[in-house]
């Protein structure tokens, strides 16, 4: 951090000249990229609609209020379905993620050359396809309904849980395993008494965390027909019944805040 001498006094600057120049260059390039990208987007935008959007928004808000509160009672079943999609989906996802995680962790994998890359590929491809796209595919296969949603959420959860879990397995304390080994335990016993207790806290917090995310995701898989509150949302938007839409949105906020609260409670209890 240089001190710059002026004629009659000294001032302090955070960076020297070279670093200043570098920073300036970074900002310049960043702004250039940003304006280039924005230019491309704006060339595809009909600005009239954008500038008119505040009127449209006011109009929409006017139609949304007052919410049709009676409608809430028809929503109970879809909300229950959403909850089930998230919970059962998370359960299935974590159950499949456990063996995958053991296969892809460096220290537990039976074969580094063949099984590990395969398991890693499963994890990555599950992660890179969004649950809505999974649902889009599954609705065509198993038909619209809750089951498609459950499978979509489950498939998407595999990657997330598998990745975090195998990282947790790679970080375990080897000494404890050696201690179990020294008692003459076989492979399965080492697994249950040496590895499992060490990753159990991580496992619980990962699955609870994923459950929280899945509640959010379960609200949208219905948009493509895979069950839950999303189906209602899609139907009411299609009907332009905005007073009902606002009830659905409120229900989603409540469900998400509720799940976040539960998650925080459980995580506190574990840690």
């Amino acid at each position: 951090m240089p001190i710059i001498k002026q004629k009659d006094y000294k001032t302090w600057k955070k960076f020297d000249r070279k670093r200043d120049l570098q920073n300036w260059l970074c900002w310049f390039l960043g702004t250039l990229i940003f304006s280039f990208c924005f230019g491309l987007i704006s060339s595809k935008t009909i600005w009239f609609y954008v500038f008119d959007s505040h009127n449209e928004a006011l109009d929409l808000l006017g139609r949304m209020f007052p919410p049709e509160t009676n409608y809430f009672f028809t929503l109970i079943k879809p909300i229950w379905d959403t909850l089930n999609i998230a919970t059962i989906g998370t359960t299935i996802g974590t159950l499949i993620a456990i063996p995958l995680a053991f296969l892809s962790a460096n220290n537990t994998t039976p074969s580094k050359k063949f099984l590990r890359p395969l398991a890693l590929f499963c994890i990555v491809s599950s992660r890179s396809i969004n649950s809505v796209i999974w649902a889009l595919l599954l609705v065509a296969v198993v038909g619209p309904g809750v089951l498609a949603g459950i499978i979509a959420i489950g498939l998407r959860s595999i990657g997330f849980c598998g990745k975090l879990l195998y990282e947790a397995i790679e970080e375990i304390d080897e000494n404890q395993i050696e201690a179990i080994e020294a008692t003459g335990a076989n492979k399965a016993q080492i697994m249950t008494f040496g590895i499992v207790p060490q990753i159990l806290p991580a496992f619980t917090s990962i699955s609870v965390y994923r459950w929280d995310i899945n509640i959010r995701e379960a609200t949208v898989v219905g948009l493509v027909g895979a069950g839950g509150i999303g189906i209602e949302l899609d139907a009411q938007i299609g009907d332009l019944a905005w007073a009902k839409v606002s009830v659905i949105l409120l229900a989603i906020v409540v469900a998400v805040v509720f799940s976040e609260w539960i998650t925080a409670k459980i995580r506190k209890a574990i840690i």
Partner: protein, 265 residues
């Protein structure tokens, strides 16, 4: 104990016996009620299996060539959208995350910022996109606004947690020099959260690209639109190609961003 063999048993996970049995009961009743209330149409699934098979076979071989122009245009549109949305989202998130840090903001601002974060986190990108497409018309602009707004919830939440964990004495040292509030944030707080800031930005760039593939389905532009068009035209070979393109780009982006994050650490 004298004549019996002494056997060691693993301690149960939950010590309280009542709680243990209660939990098992609750979980099993829950599972039972789920099975009773969800309608699963086995007939439809049995019918769906051959249909699904046809459906999956229709994806092969992936056809990159027929619609290659549209695929390329979609990918690039997604990329522009992602870059602009991430930058705009982060710029908005900075004041929000300062407001959502307990140790910096006054109570009123704190609750306001937390409210903004919760609201932005509650709604999935797709739901937001439906509304913005309605408000602003089809195209990448609506998608960009959606992504920027959902960036706030993620970015501001995690950054504000990091701001709350800063080393207080460093920040106080800056304050004791008589700095103004902005100088205090710039020299006392910002250097401490910078590594996390860069890491989060890269991570969010990666997430935004993934999400841009979905919001196109509801009209938000980008590669998702290409995917949706392919589905609507029953050109499953093209859809397969788009999916493969999405997966490979996501893999590349994720690999580079995790590599970069490791470098920064």
């Amino acid at each position: 104990m004298n004549d019996k063999k002494v056997i060691w048993k693993r301690k149960p996970l939950i010590k309280n016996r009542l709680l243990r049995i209660g939990l098992i009961l609750i979980i099993s009743t829950y599972l039972l009620s789920v099975f009773l209330t969800t309608e699963i149409d086995w007939q439809r699934i049995l019918e769906g299996i051959p249909r699904g098979k046809n459906f999956i076979f229709a994806f092969f071989p992936p056809d990159f060539i027929t619609r290659s122009d549209e695929i390329l245009a979609g990918v690039f549109e997604s990329l522009w959208m992602t870059i602009v949305a991430t930058i705009v989202g982060i710029l908005i998130s900075i004041p929000v995350s300062l407001g959502a840090a307990k140790n910096i903001a006054p109570k009123f601002v704190y609750f306001l910022s937390r409210g903004v974060i919760t609201l932005s986190r509650s709604f999935q990108e797709v739901i937001l996109a439906i509304f913005f497409v309605k408000l602003m018309g089809f195209g990448p602009f609506a998608g960009m606004v959606t992504l920027s707004l959902s960036t706030i919830g993620f970015f501001a939440k995690l950054l504000s947690e990091d701001i709350e964990d800063i080393n207080k004495s460093q920040a106080e040292a800056i304050k004791s020099t008589g700095s103004s509030w902005f100088q205090w944030v710039n020299y006392g707080v910002q250097p401490q959260v910078m590594p996390r800031f860069i890491g989060l930005s890269l991570y969010r760039l990666d997430i935004n690209f993934r999400e841009s593939a979905v919001i196109g389905i509801v009209g938000g532009g980008g590669i998702g639109s290409t995917l949706n068009t392919a589905f609507d035209r029953y050109e499953f070979e093209t859809a397969a190609a788009v999916l493969i393109v999405i997966i490979s780009i996501v893999m590349i982006v994720e690999y580079t961003s995790s590599h970069l994050r490791k470098l920064i650490k």
